[in-house]
C-alpha cells in the first residue's frame, strides 16, 4: 500500500500529539469514517466542538490525511498488521495505532460496500414476465393462427428505484433459441465453478 508524500505528511500531522491531542484523535478518526460513508455527516467535523482548540488549517490537513488513508486501506483490503506497519512508518504512537485500528475495522465492511457500489453497468435483469398470445387474424389475412410470446424483462437500472422493463415479442422458435442460449450460458458458468 503506497501513499503519496503529501498524504504521508498530513498523516504525520494527524499522528503528532503536539497538533492533534489524544482525545481529539479518536473523534477525528470516527468523523473521517462517517464523513466518507454518510452524506448527512459530510461536514460534521466542521461543527464538532471538540476541535475548537486545534488550528483549522492543521485540522483540515490531518482530516484529509486520515480520509485518504482510510480509503486506500479499504481499497487494498488491509488488515490490522498492514495498517499498523504503515502507521508506524508515519510515526504514530502504538496507542493511536490501536485506537485507529479499532475504529477503522468496525467500519471497514460498510466502506467496502460503498466502494463496491462504484461502477457502471448495464441494466441488470432480475425478473421476467411472459405471456402467450394467439394471433388469430389481421386485416391482411383471414386466418393466421400462430402463437406469439410476449416477454417482459424487469431490469434494475443504476440510479432508478423502480424496475424498468424491456418488452419484446417472439415466436416459439425464437424463444427456444433464447432459452437454449441461456442454458449454454449456465452450463459454461457451472463448468467454471467446478474447475
Amino acid at each position: 500500500m503506497e501513499l503519496g508524500a503529501s498524504v504521508v505528511e498530513n498523516l504525520c500531522l494527524a499522528g503528532d500529539t503536539a497538533h492533534i491531542p489524544d482525545k481529539c484523535f479518536d473523534q477525528l478518526a470516527r468523523k473521517a469514517c462517517r464523513g466518507v460513508l454518510s452524506e448527512t455527516d459530510r461536514n460534521a467535523i466542521a461543527d464538532d466542538p471538540s476541535f475548537k482548540a486545534v488550528d483549522k488549517a492543521v485540522l483540515k490537513a490531518a482530516y484529509s490525511g486520515v480520509v485518504a488513508l482510510v480509503l486506500e486501506a479499504v481499497k487494498h483490503d488491509a488488515d490490522a498488521n498492514g495498517i499498523s506497519h504503515f502507521l508506524e512508518e508515519c510515526k504514530f504512537t502504538p496507542d493511536r495505532i490501536q485506537s485507529f485500528n479499532n475504529i477503522f475495522l468496525t467500519q471497514k465492511p460498510s466502506m467496502q460496500i460503498l466502494l463496491g457500489s462504484v461502477g457502471s453497468c448495464r441494466p441488470h435483469i432480475v425478473d421476467v414476465d411472459w405471456r402467450l398470445d394467439y394471433y388469430i387474424k389481421s386485416n391482411h389475412m383471414e386466418r393466421i393462427n400462430e402463437a406469439v410470446y410476449l416477454i417482459s424483462l424487469k431490469t434494475e437500472v443504476p440510479g432508478q428505484t423502480e424496475l424498468q422493463e424491456v418488452q419484446f415479442s417472439c415466436s416459439l422458435e425464437q424463444l427456444q433459441d433464447l432459452v437454449g442460449k441461456l442454458k449454454d450460458a449456465t452450463k459454461c458458468l457451472e463448468k467454471q465453478a467446478q474447475s
Partner: protein, 640 residues
C-alpha cells in the same frame, strides 16, 4: 525395526484399520489382524476389490481368501518372493513386514497428490473465482425487494455479495484540494495561503458536488500522486543523474526547454495561418503609412481608416478572406460605381506616391552605402599613414643618435659592442629564467589536467556504481517480496497439512542411520584391506618357506650322503616341515569351522523366527478341520 513397525501401524490406523492400542510391533499381529489390515489397504488402493473385511470362519473360505489376497498383492507388483495363502494365514514376521511396507508405500500416493499442485498466483485466483461462482450459483433466487439495496448476506468470508445494481453510481472523480506544507519546517507557507486553508477551504469530504463522488475523487488524487512520484523517480534515475545537475536545476532546464518548444510551435503556426511573412511587414508598413497620411492630411481621419481597409483589399492575397474580415464595411449598391471610381483614382495616386517614395528610399540607401564604403577607405588610409609616420619617426631617431655618436666613433663602437653583448647576455639569462619558470608550470598544468580527467572518469565510475547499486537494491527488494509471498504460501500450506506424523524424528533417525552405515562401510573397507594384506603376507611367507625348504633340503641331502649326523638332521628337518604343515592346516580348518559355526547360528536364528513349529501345528489343525468340513459336506450331499 521398531520404527518401521510404528510407521506401518500408524499408516494402517490412518486408513481406518482397527488396531488395538497395545499393539506396537508386527510380531503382535495375529492372523485376523493381518488379513483385515491387508484387505483394508487393498480396498484403499483399489476400490473395486471385493473382499470380505474379516477372515471367514470356514477353513476352505479362509483358504480361498488367502489365495485371493496373495493374488491381489502380486498383481499390484510385489516382487519380494512367492506369495500364497500361507503368507497370510501362517504368517512369518519378516515376510509380513515386507508385504505391509509394500502396501503402505502404495497407499500415500493417493493422498499426497492433492498437496503437490502448483501454487502460482494465477492458479489461486482461478480457484478463488471458481469457489465464489460456485457459492453464488448455489444460492436460490430471491426477488429484488428482499435484498438490502442489492446486497445479499451469506455466511462465507466477506459476509455479503452484490446482486442488484440499483444502488450503483458511476465512477466520477472531481478535483479536490488538500492543504499542503501546513506544519512543514522547511517550506514557509504565505500568510494568505494559510488564511485560505484555515477559513475558506472546505473539508475533504464536503468538497465534491455529489457525495457519491467523494471516494472516487480521493482515490484518484492519491493514485495520481503516487504515479507522479514513481514517474519522477524513474526519470531522475535514468536521465537526471547522468546530467549531473541538482534536482532544481534539472527541473528548471526541462521547463525552459518545454517553453521554448511551445513558443516555437506557436510562432510557426501563427505564420502558417496568416500566409507568410510579407503580411507582417506589410502590416507594419501600413501602420507607418497610416501615421504618415494622418500627419499629412490632417482631418481626413475617416479616409485614413478607409485607407487602412483598402490597403487590406489591395494587398490581401486571399480576397475572400479579407472581405470576410472587413465584414460590415460592405458598400450599398447605389454608390458602388462612385466608390469604385474614387477607389481607382486613389489607387492610382497612391501607387504613384508609393513608387516615388520607394525610389527615393532606394536612392538614399545607395548613397548611404557609398558613404560608408568611402568612410571605411578613409579610415584605412588614415591608419596606414599614421603607421608610416611612426616608422619614419623611429628611423629618424636612430639616425640622429648614430650621428651624435659618430665623432667619437671608435670608443662608441666599442661601447655599443659592449652594450650589444650585454643585452645578448641578458636575453640569454632571461630565456634561461623563463625556461626555469616554464617547466614547473607545465608540469603543474599536466598534473591538473590529469586530475580533472581522472575526476571525470571517477564521477562516471561512481554513476555506474550507483546505477548498479540501485538495480541491485531493486532486485533484492523484489527477491525479498517474493520470498515473503512464498513464505506466506508455505505457511498456509503447512498449517493446512496434518501434523500427526513427526517428520523431524524420522529425518533425524534417517540421518543417524546413514551415518552409521557410512561408518560401517569404512570399517568393512578397513577390514578388507587388512585381510588382503594378511593374505599377501601369508602368500609371501609360504613362498619363502617353500623356497628355503627346497634350498635347505637340497643342501642337507647333498651333505647327507656323506655324513650320518647330517642324515639325522635331514630327517628332523623333514619331520619339522611336515609338522608345521599340519599345524597350518589345522589352523586353517579351525578358521573354516568357526565361520561355519557362525553361519549356522544365523540360520538357526532366522529359522526360529519362522515359527515353523507353531505354523505346522496350525496347519495340521486346519487340515483336520478341512477334513471334517469335507466329511460333513459329503454327508449332506449323500443325504440329498
Amino acid at each position: 525395526m521398531e520404527e518401521v513397525d510404528r510407521i506401518i501401524i500408524h499408516s494402517l490406523r490412518s486408513i481406518g484399520c482397527d488396531i488395538d492400542e497395545e499393539v506396537h510391533n508386527l510380531r503382535q499381529f495375529n492372523t485376523d489382524l493381518i488379513v483385515s489390515a491387508a484387505v483394508q489397504c487393498i480396498k484403499f488402493i483399489n476400490n473395486d476389490a471385493d473382499l470380505p473385511n474379516t477372515l471367514p470362519p470356514g477353513m476352505s473360505a479362509r483358504f480361498r481368501m488367502g489365495a485371493s489376497l496373495a493374488n491381489y498383492v502380486q498383481d499390484m507388483g510385489y516382487r519380494g518372493g512367492d506369495l500364497g495363502y500361507q503368507t497370510f494365514l501362517y504368517s512369518n514376521e519378516a515376510e509380513i513386514r515386507k508385504i505391509f511396507m509394500f502396501l503402505v508405500e502404495k497407499l500415500p500416493k493417493d493422498t499426497s497428490q492433492v498437496a503437490d499442485e502448483p501454487m502460482g498466483s494465477s492458479v489461486m485466483l482461478h480457484r478463488a473465482i471458481s469457489t465464489e461462482l460456485g457459492a453464488q450459483l448455489a444460492l436460490p433466487w430471491v426477488p429484488t425487494f428482499l435484498k438490502d439495496r442489492g446486497l445479499r448476506n451469506r455466511t462465507k468470508q466477506p459476509g455479503w455479495h452484490r446482486e442488484g445494481t440499483s444502488c450503483m453510481h458511476r465512477y466520477h472523480a472531481c478535483h479536490v484540494a488538500v492543504p499542503r506544507d501546513v506544519a512543514s519546517l522547511t517550506v514557509k507557507l504565505p500568510k494568505e495561503q494559510r488564511q485560505y486553508y484555515g477559513k475558506q477551504l472546505a473539508f475533504l469530504t464536503s468538497q465534491t458536488q455529489c457525495h457519491a463522488d467523494t471516494a472516487p475523487s480521493v482515490l484518484e488524487m492519491t493514485a495520481a500522486e503516487v504515479a507522479r512520484q514513481q514517474e519522477w523517480e524513474t526519470e531522475w534515475n535514468q536521465s537526471g543523474l547522468t546530467s549531473r545537475l541538482s534536482q532544481k536545476d534539472y527541473k528548471a532546464r526541462k521547463m525552459s526547454k518545454i517553453q521554448k518548444m511551445l513558443t516555437d510551435r506557436l510562432k510557426q503556426d501563427a505564420k502558417q495561418r496568416d500566409g507568410g511573412s510579407t503580411m507582417d511587414s506589410l502590416r507594419d508598413l501600413q501602420q507607418v503609412m497610416a501615421s504618415i497620411s494622418q500627419n499629412a492630411r490632417g482631418g481626413t481621419k475617416t479616409k485614413g481608416s478607409r485607407f487602412a481597409h483598402t490597403e487590406k483589399l489591395l494587398y490581401g492575397k486571399d480576397e475572400e478572406k479579407t472581405m470576410a474580415q472587413i465584414g460590415a464595411a460592405v458598400p450599398s449598391k447605389d454608390t458602388e460605381e462612385e466608390t469604385q471610381r474614387k477607389r481607382e483614382e486613389e489607387q492610382q495616386q497612391l501607387r504613384e506616391e508609393l513608387t516615388q517614395l520607394l525610389s527615393q528610399i532606394d536612392q538614399l540607401e545607395l548613397d548611404m552605402r557609398k558613404m560608408t564604403a568611402s568612410r571605411q577607405q578613409m579610415d584605412e588610409a588614415v591608419s596606414s599613414a599614421a603607421q608610416q609616420r611612426q616608422d619614419k619617426e623611429e628611423a629618424f631617431q636612430v639616425k640622429k643618435r648614430t650621428l651624435d655618436l659618430l665623432p667619437d666613433a671608435h670608443n662608441n663602437i666599442q661601447k655599443l659592442q659592449g652594450v650589444v653583448d650585454g643585452s645578448a647576455q641578458r636575453l640569454l639569462s632571461l630565456a634561461a629564467q623563463w625556461e626555469k619558470h616554464r617547466a614547473p608550470l607545465i608540469d603543474q598544468f599536466r598534473t591538473l589536467r590529469e586530475l580533472s580527467s581522472q575526476r571525470e572518469s571517477e564521477a562516471q565510475r561512481q554513476l555506474e556504481e550507483m546505477k548498479t547499486f540501485r538495480s541491485k537494491m531493486k532486485e533484492v527488494a523484489d527477491e525479498a517480496r517474493q520470498k515473503e509471498d512464498l513464505q506466506k504460501q508455505l505457511q498456509m500450506e503447512y498449517e493446512r497439512m496434518t501434523k500427526d506424523v513427526n517428520r523431524t524424528a524420522y529425518t533425524r533417525k534417517i540421518m543417524e542411520i546413514v551415518a552409521n552405515i557410512k561408518k560401517q562401510k569404512q570399517e568393512i573397507d578397513r577390514i578388507l584391506i587388512e585381510t588382503k594384506s594378511i593374505q599377501k603376507e601369508i602368500n609371501s611367507l609360504s613362498g619363502k618357506l617353500d623356497r628355503t625348504f627346497t634350498v635347505t633340503d637340497e643342501q642337507i641331502f647333498r651333505d647327507a650322503k656323506r655324513d650320518e649326523s647330517v642324515k639325522k638332521a635331514y630327517r628332523f628337518l623333514a619331520a619339522l616341515h611336515e609338522n608345521c604343515e599340519q599345524l597350518t592346516k589345522t589352523v586353517e580348518e579351525t578358521g573354516v569351522i568357526l565361520r561355519e559355526i557362525r553361519d549356522l547360528e544365523d540360520q538357526i536364528e532366522t529359522e526360529s523366527h519362522k515359527k515353523v513349529l507353531a505354523n505346522l501345528e496350525k496347519i495340521t489343525e486346519d487340515y483336520q478341520q478341512m477334513k471334517k468340513e469335507n466329511a460333513t459336506l459329503m454327508a449332506k450331499l449323500k443325504q440329498k
